[in-house]
């Protein structure tokens, strides 16, 4: 396996447009996202950050009338190609949502369910423990695995959602403002967790919180509505987080990250 030529990037977009009906919500995005790094997508409300994130695992498919032009390439395969099964895409690209959304099942089943439907045949107890450890939740829940997931606090539920995502061993984990509904301490734990997770996974995170982007990410994509007033969002600058926050090329990025705009 090691000898097979691996592509340089985890995922790559080429001239990507995302439409809702005839309206391009996101225009002309060209990004190459590094493996095993955290990439943050920042920008003002309504500029298409979540729409772009949701394009990566074809969650926008559930929005009627939405479609995509251009390409998103994972290991050279266009995720929007005609012969691509969106279910298979989502098995390889997991997602953590803004609000914790554990299933109405026990803590154990929340983890095992995804593995089961993905045809996992190994030792389930082991997988559950590993996944919970991976999400820094094991110590807190190991004595109540049979209890309902709804008995956990919001922060614990969010880590459970991360645990169930890593249980299916995806290539990439998408996070849509994963800490915005959490208190500061839970937020800190999620941020620490992301640093551990990036040793094994590529993470793309949408965040409203610029300090968070600065703290957790290696790369940052700055999104903004296009200047022509079309209400269509695009990535105006994409580079190392350090550069975005200290020496941005685009004046709009500078205004935004220094708090003069947005």
């Amino acid at each position: 396996m090691e000898n097979i030529q691996t592509p340089e990037y985890a995922i790559e977009t080429k001239n990507l447009f995302i439409f809702y009906g005839s309206f391009p919500a996101v225009s002309e995005v060209n990004m190459r996202i590094e493996k095993q790094k955290v990439t943050a997508i920042i920008g003002p409300s309504g500029c298409g950050k979540s729409t772009l994130l949701r394009a990566f695992n074809r969650m926008n498919d559930f929005v009627p009338s939405s479609y995509v032009t251009g390409e998103i390439l994972l290991q050279g395969q266009n995720l929007y190609g005609k012969d691509i099964d969106p279910v298979e895409v989502r098995r390889k690209i997991g997602m953590v949502f803004q609000k914790p959304n554990p299933f109405p099942k026990s803590i154990y089943e929340n983890i095992s369910w995804g593995a089961k439907i993905n045809g996992f045949k190994g030792n389930m107890d082991e997988l559950v423990e590993q996944s919970l450890r991976g999400a820094a939740l094991w110590e807190e829940v190991k004595d109540k695995l049979k209890k309902s997931a709804y008995e956990l606090s919001g922060g614990q539920q969010q880590r459970l959602c991360i645990a169930r995502t890593i249980a299916i061993q995806p290539e990439i984990i998408l996070m849509d403002e994963p800490a915005s509904a959490l208190d500061p301490i839970s937020t800190l734990r999620i941020e620490e967790l992301m640093q551990e997770l990036k040793q094994n996974y590529t993470i793309i995170i949408v965040t409203h919180n610029m300090q968070q982007a600065a703290r957790v990410s290696d790369y940052t994509a700055m999104m903004m509505l296009e200047k022509d007033g079309s209400r269509s969002g695009t990535v105006i600058e994409f580079s190392e987080t350090k550069k975005i926050f200290t020496n941005p090329k685009d004046k709009r990025t500078e205004d935004y990250v220094t708090g003069r705009f947005g």
């Binding site: 997602m95 099942k105 439907i117």
Partner: protein
């Protein structure tokens, strides 16, 4: 600037009145709501009281004993046989058949409407399903007798009697179907979209998401649909009166004719009964029994649902 100052000054010197104030509209509404609540409880209690009182007269009759009522299997008031079971079994058999038809079909319809159908298909199909609920039950009764029974006779042969519980039960199930499907659909649609997205993001197919995530999350609502469905089936009168037969018959064979509790009450009270005769009083005992059967079935289904729900919530 000047105006701002006067406002500030006014605020400082204005005396505050925090005393209780009369709010007549509030109190009127509150008492109206209270009266409506009390009234519905009172009506229920009054019905149970009246049933109990008349049923007591029946059990006080020297010809009737509790042991006979619950211990024998023949109901022939004309010759003094008062065993309730033939009426109960046919009620149970027809209701069970009705639920056996309506629950899976209703749930499947609800799942289709809420998870699979396009908005366009849903807006076309839902009204059609609801038309089923608008058909008078007497029409269903004749549908059972004149269409379903001949059909069953064609399928199962001569063993199927002209009046039979199977036909009445199936048609009763069709009647209850829209109730089950529309209540279940409401419960399924109320499941937050976030839960579905969570499942899809795990690489679940539509079927896996609907059956293993959405359905368990909607269980309480579906349980309510089940309970109301059972109550309708047990209480349904016209279909069984027309199609299930008009003579008490202690049997579990769905091909046979057997009169249900409701059917019996309808038939007997339609004839000329003299007030305070034993036949007349027996109707109240049957009604009380009907009440009891509904209650027990409701409690059982509530218990089953609670057990399932504990696993999921």
């Amino acid at each position: 600037m000047k105006q701002e100052n006067t406002i500030m000054e006014n605020k400082i010197f204005r005396p505050l009145d925090l005393k209780k104030k009369m709010r007549p509209a509030e109190s009127i509404i509150q008492s109206l709501l209270f009266i409506s609540g009390v009234l519905s409880i009172f009506i229920t209690v009054a019905i149970v009281y009246e049933l109990g009182k008349e049923a007591l007269l029946f059990f006080n009759n020297p010809d009737v004993t509790f042991a006979k009522f619950f211990g024998t299997t023949q109901w022939q008031p004309g010759i003094g046989l008062f065993g309730i079971w033939p009426l109960v079994t046919s009620t149970l058999v027809t209701s069970f058949i009705a639920m056996f038809v309506s629950l899976p079909l209703g749930l499947a319809a609800a799942l289709f409407l809420s998870e699979y159908a396009s908005p366009k298909a849903r807006s076309a199909l839902k009204p059609i399903l609801e038309i089923l609920a608008g058909i008078p039950t007497v029409v269903y009764g004749y549908f059972a007798l004149l269409f379903m029974t001949p059909l069953l006779q064609k399928i199962f042969g001569d063993g199927v009697e002209v009046y039979n519980m199977l036909s009445a039960g199936i048609v009763m199930g069709i009647m209850i179907l829209p109730l089950i499907s529309s209540m279940s659909e409401d419960a399924l649609s109320a499941v937050p979209r976030a839960l579905r997205e969570g499942a899809y993001a795990m690489g679940a197919t539509k079927f896996e998401t609907s059956i293993q995530v959405v359905l368990p999350a909607a269980l309480s609502g579906i349980g309510a649909a089940l309970i109301i469905g059972i109550s309708r089936a047990v209480g349904e009168t016209m279909i069984v009166a027309v199609a299930a037969g008009s003579g008490p018959n202690f049997t579990f064979n769905p091909f046979k004719a057997a009169e249900t509790m409701t059917g019996h009450i309808a038939r007997i009270s339609g004839g000329d009964l003299s007030y305070n005769s034993i036949d007349y009083n027996s109707l109240f005992a049957i009604a009380l029994m009907l009440f009891l059967v509904t209650l027990v079935l409701n409690l059982i289904s509530q218990g089953i649902i609670n057990r399932f729900r504990q696993r999921y919530e």
